[in-house]
């Protein structure tokens, strides 16, 4: 038995790729998101590789790299995120995964990408990297702020009536908990309907530098990510001061939970609290039990979240980045950069 990795022809082999994803990652409607994710991305088309076993007619695994424009310090670089990594159960002996993981480094080694990153959610996902002697560059922690208590009470109390009555008091208590109101001077937060425009591109251009790694957030990027996504709808809250866009938050609403997918601002410490207050107000009447956010451990955002009554929970993902040695990107990655990553950066 000989397993090899080879590039996928996305024009002629798309259905085979989708077939592997559907049988291994059945929770996502892959066919519906394929064109958007692989072909419509403003950063460019995706690259994919199959793991093939020579004696079998069909591939036994697949991996993809989706390009992303990223600000790496002062420079805008084309980078990539590993996505849609799947291997049939009988072939999870690490070897095929190693082949595919190394294949995802190919665009980096060829100089097409400055670096690529993967986001293993757990230790199991780290196995290929550990084998290669690579460790996580940063860890992403989930934060949560409870808004209502029905769900928690429902787990502990059998009687629905008792849950309802107790929840009245619990919800009121959560609502009345002393919170510092964050109405930073002159900032007006409002719901942003419709597509992202030039002011978002302008804001993105004005926020960069230092030792920071973050995704580019041009209007084109944001429209693709949040307005053209065929599977999900998102709500956007903007913060303006004197008519100028100074920050925004993107929120996804589930049945009982809301997720802050991105929060971006010229000054997170100044504008962030007002935006998060507005997010909480925005979702409060929708029976949302908790608001969740994800950010790099120890980042400025994690401090902001704690300051507005979010509590740190588990590590939800690790970021492992690969850059070719003796390149600018490699030096940057090994210079202890600040990863300004949010949940958005983990979404494929």
């Amino acid at each position: 038995m000989k397993v090899k990795a080879r590039p996928v022809c996305l024009d002629s082999e798309r259905s085979i790729l989708i077939g592997i994803l559907e049988r291994n990652l059945p929770e996502l409607p892959h066919a519906r998101r394929s064109e958007w994710l692989y072909d419509k991305n403003p950063a460019g088309n995706a690259w994919s590789w199959f793991a093939i076993e020579e004696s079998l007619p069909s591939p036994i695994g697949v991996a993809t790299v989706v390009p992303r424009f990223m600000w790496v310090g002062e420079s805008l670089k084309l980078c990539g995120q590993v996505a849609d990594f799947a291997i049939d159960p009988g072939y999870r002996s690490l070897g095929p995964a190693m082949l595919l993981q190394k294949a995802t480094f190919d665009p980096v080694n060829r100089g097409l990408l400055a670096f690529c990153y993967d986001c293993p959610p757990d230790d199991r996902g780290m196995s290929t990297f550990r084998r290669m002697g690579m460790e996580a560059n940063c860890r992403m922690r989930r934060f949560a702020r409870p808004l209502r208590v029905e769900r928690r009470l429902g787990e502990k109390l059998a009687s629905k009536k008792l849950v309802s009555i107790t929840a009245l008091f619990g919800n009121l208590a959560l609502r009345l908990l002393p919170t510092r109101r964050h109405s930073a001077s002159g900032i007006k937060v409002s719901v942003h309907e419709g597509r992202f425009g030039a002011e978002f591109t302008e804001l993105d251009r004005n926020v960069r530098g230092g030792n920071l790694i973050r995704s580019r957030r041009s209007a084109e990027d944001l429209n693709w990510r949040f307005r053209d996504d065929p599977l999900n709808q998102y709500q956007v809250l903007t913060a303006h001061r004197g008519g100028e866009l100074v920050g925004y938050a993107v929120v996804s609403l589930g049945e009982q939970d809301a997720y802050v997918l991105d929060l971006f601002s010229r000054s997170v410490a100044e504008v962030g609290p007002s935006l998060l207050d507005a997010v909480v107000e925005h979702v409060h009447d929708r029976k949302i039990q908790s608001v969740h956010a994800l950010c790099a451990d120890g980042s400025e955002m994690s401090g902001l979240l704690r300051s507005v009554r979010f509590s740190g929970r588990e590590i939800s993902a690790r970021i492992v980045a690969y850059a070719k040695v003796e390149t600018e990107a490699h030096a940057f990655l090994h210079g202890s950069p600040k990863w300004s990553f949010t949940r958005m950066d983990l979404m494929a």
Partner: protein, 91 residues
Amino acid sequence: MIETNTITVRLKEFILQKFPLAKKQGLKGSDRMLDTGIIDSLGVLDLVGFVEREYSIEVSDEELTPENFQSLDALTAFVQTKSANGSGPRA
């Protein structure tokens, strides 16, 4: 060359101790460990570390195949072949 039975016993001991599903279900020599989820990729990594330490062998990426890691019997045969080709077990 190390006896097959000695290798099997030692490997089985490690697998039962390390992987809860193997301990729960029991483990026969021919049981398919990858298909059934007894070991996953992280488990393979642990197993590789164990056999490399225990038998002073080096396992290459190309050898991390289902053929070698699918069952206790397959793993035993792999370790025996590697030991015979390379250095012996640690004293």
